[in-house]
Amino acid sequence: MAKKTTRVPEAGGWPDAVAVPALIAGAVLTTVGFLMAFLWAAPVNGAALSAPELVGDVMVTHQQLISQKIFYFHMPVAIVSFVALAFGAYYGIRFLMTREQRFDTCSRVAMEIALLFVVLTMITGDLWTRFEWGVWWTWEPRLTTYLILMLIAIAYFVLRNAVDDPERRATYAGVVSVIALVDVPVCFMITRLIPSSIHPVVAREGGMSPDMAATVFVVLAGMMLVGYGLYRLRFREARLGERLQALKDMLE
């Protein structure tokens, strides 16, 4: 019975060679996005002014909501955290199928990146809330979903530390990552579809104008590359630790 040799991801090789340039490209793109957000994308109109005013060469008729600029980082970071969670669950499934310990390492590293980016999402989202509604926290659907995702990611790592047997730990971690991947979209859907308070609030989300969309896209691409670069870096470090441990075992 020729054992199908499952291709096991390994540190080194082209994915790692690409990692450093990806990190640099990511940093560049995000800073470009940062500048675009402030200089190029039109600010969102706030409350109407008592009278139009000439500012520079533009007739301004509404208050300019500057705080909305955080959005250009908040959304991409949130998307990347969800992509990282998807990878974590994918490698979790691969581990459950093949029992190959390497996939468990990939799943763990991907979940770490997911947790990192969820923390970033919470930071940007919370500060935006602080200004937008003047309060540090509201149980507003978007924010609660990310709080839940963060708690699940933290629970994932708490579980990993609570189990000693490596195979059992990897199996449980894989299962939890899959349940998390299923749970988060359901959480997204439920918190959005049910009006958050008894008197329904009309959603204020207007569409995105092309220039705003372009900025978001630039920052998104940048954040994806940063995420990828960090993933490869952490994966390489984890692999190094494992190879060292293997050497130690062999020495005894």
Partner: protein, 61 residues
């Protein structure tokens, strides 16, 4: 600054600190993560050194 201009910027000034804080914290968090990974690498290198000694000692005797 006439009242209307003041009105325009009324949302800008108070929100500025949060905006800066947000971006600063994002970069800070990414930096902390990289530092954690690098520290991990250093720890592994130290263990590598110990291992090399052990191998040399084993080979030597």
């Amino acid at each position: 600054m006439n009242p209307i201009l003041a009105d325009i910027y009324s949302t800008v000034i108070p929100s500025a600190p949060y905006l800066i804080a947000a971006y600063a914290l994002v970069w800070a968090a990414l930096l902390v993560y990289v530092i954690i990974v690098v520290r991990g690498l250093k720890k592994t290198e130290a263990q590598m050194a110990v291992l090399e000694e052990a191998v040399r000692a084993k080979g030597g005797d």
